[in-house]
């Protein structure tokens, strides 16, 4: 199941900011131009969310995983927590492990990129994956908020504004209907206003 492109774009921008904040150098050659399919299993029994990660010299581009799977050089599948542990080069003792296939060296290069990053994301996110999720999730949000704040300009705020704007647009159909009716009413009023203005213009210029 591919994610909407706006969400993918926002995820890519946030990832870029993380990689920039972590001050990683140019991406290593073996990764550049490769396509790594990520199958994110968020809800058991539901189709996984497919994302293609494509490193270039400056970072990692993300696209909805719409291309056939055989176009990918490697695949990583698992729950968000399992993927996180894999990226941070941590093996987990329970059976929630990410499954990898294809070019394993490529995946090793990718995980090296994250584990070499000089940024303590692990300390932030490890708590999220712990047993008392609710409380830790709240901590995660607070800490991430702080990190986003630190990490430069107002991009994150704009993104939240943007998400808010998008969610405002995705209103239920009855509200659409109402909006359409109000727009029609507005259109009629504008028409009336235009005619009055034309009348006024004529009054102002009696000779024309």
């Amino acid at each position: 199941m591919p994610l909407p492109s706006t969400a993918i774009g926002i995820a890519e921008i946030i990832l870029s900011r993380y990689l920039n904040a972590a001050d990683i150098g140019p991406i290593a050659d073996p990764l550049i131009g490769k396509r790594i399919r990520i199958e994110l299993e968020t809800i058991p029994g539901q189709p996984a969310i497919s994302i293609d990660a494509m490193p270039d010299r400056n970072g990692i581009r993300l696209l909805p995983g719409e291309e056939p799977l055989d176009q990918a050089d490697a695949t990583i599948a698992g729950s968000p927590q399992a993927l996180l542990m894999l990226l941070l080069n941590r093996s987990k003792t329970n059976n929630d492990q990410a499954r990898v296939s294809g070019d394993l060296q490529l995946i090793r290069n990718l995980t090296d990129l994250f584990s070499d990053a000089d940024f303590d994301l692990e300390a932030i996110l490890a708590e999220w994956t712990g047993p008392r999720r609710a409380r830790h999730l709240a901590e995660f949000v607070t800490v991430t908020g702080g990190w986003l704040k630190q990490s430069g300009d107002k991009l994150s705020r704009n993104l939240f504004d943007y998400l808010k704007y998008e969610s405002d647009i995705l209103v239920p159909p009855q509200q659409w209907q109402q909006l359409a009716e109000e727009c029609q009413q507005l259109e009629r009023r504008l028409g009336g206003l235009q005619r009055r203005l034309e009348k006024l213009e004529k009054l102002e210029t009696p000779n024309s």
């Binding site: 870029s16 270039d56 998008e166």
Partner: protein
């Protein structure tokens, strides 16, 4: 070739390359001879230049700022990169990108219209941004720039004004370095459910805003018409592929009112 201020003009060439005298092209909803469109577009932007930023905010209810941040975020450029901002107008994208490529990189801020470019240059100066930016006055269809010279080319809300869009995209592809990317931020085709209020806004309210705040309803009517005549998401993606770009993809914003297309020179 490209200078740090003042403005440099590229040699004028207003024919589209595929055109003859008798061929016509869309200027909003009007058909005009191909070789007249560039001049007509220039008149529109000469007229709107002084009020351009105010109108941008009014027209998009401030959203253009977010769309521009989204597009520049997807450029993924870094310190040291060379970027070309085409149809840069008053330089909003240039400003955002200059920060990303500083201190070692450079953004070439380019537009066909001297008045817009001057406005942009003055605004950059007012904000104290002088380093790492060059100015170039040129038509996007005929770039006086070397092959393989930019890590990223971006054109924001400019492509719909260009007469021969495919020729322009081919030029952008030519000046990109291998591995470099092209981003096109442009109005596009919104969800069907949005069409009616969007039409009302574009054709009834927008020209009135233009008249009220910029004293120029016709230019803003042209802007609304030119948006409708612009290729939709899929068509533009196909044009990018035809121009030689790979891995082309588009990101819809505001339910498709605006889209960011991205493609790579491989």
């Amino acid at each position: 070739m490209v200078q740090d201020q003042p403005l440099e003009s590229a040699p004028e060439n207003s024919s589209s390359g595929t055109s003859g005298q008798s061929e016509t092209t869309a200027f909003g909803y009007e058909q005009v001879p191909v070789n007249e469109k560039t001049g007509r577009v220039r008149e529109v932007f000469d007229s709107v230049a002084p009020s351009y930023d105010l109108m941008n905010d009014l027209m998009s209810m401030g959203l253009h700022r977010i769309w521009k941040r989204f597009a520049t975020g997807l450029c993924g450029v870094r310190n040291g990169d060379q970027v070309l901002d085409l149809a840069a107008g008053t330089g909003d994208l240039t400003r955002l990108l200059a920060r990303q490529v500083a201190p070692a990189g450079r953004v070439v801020m380019s537009d066909i219209n001297g008045a817009m470019l001057e406005q942009g240059r003055d605004q950059l100066l007012d904000r104290g941004i002088t380093d790492g930016i060059s100015l170039l006055q040129t038509n996007a269809e005929f770039l006086p720039l070397a092959d393989n010279s930019f890590d990223c080319v971006i054109i924001g809300f400019g492509l719909r004004n260009v007469t021969d869009k495919l020729a322009a995209i081919k030029e952008m592809h030519r000046v990109l370095k291998p591995g470099g990317k092209l981003l096109i931020l442009e109005f596009s085709k919104p969800l069907a459910a949005l069409q009616k209020p969007y039409d009302l806004y574009s054709f009834k309210i927008l020209p009135r805003l233009g008249k009220l705040f910029a004293g120029d309803a016709d230019s803003y009517r042209y802007l609304a018409e030119s948006i409708r005549m612009h290729p939709d998401q899929q068509t533009l993606k196909a044009m990018m592929e035809e121009a030689g770009l790979s891995r082309c993809h588009y990101f819809n914003l505001a339910a498709g009112i605006v889209a960011v297309h991205r493609g790579y020179k491989i």
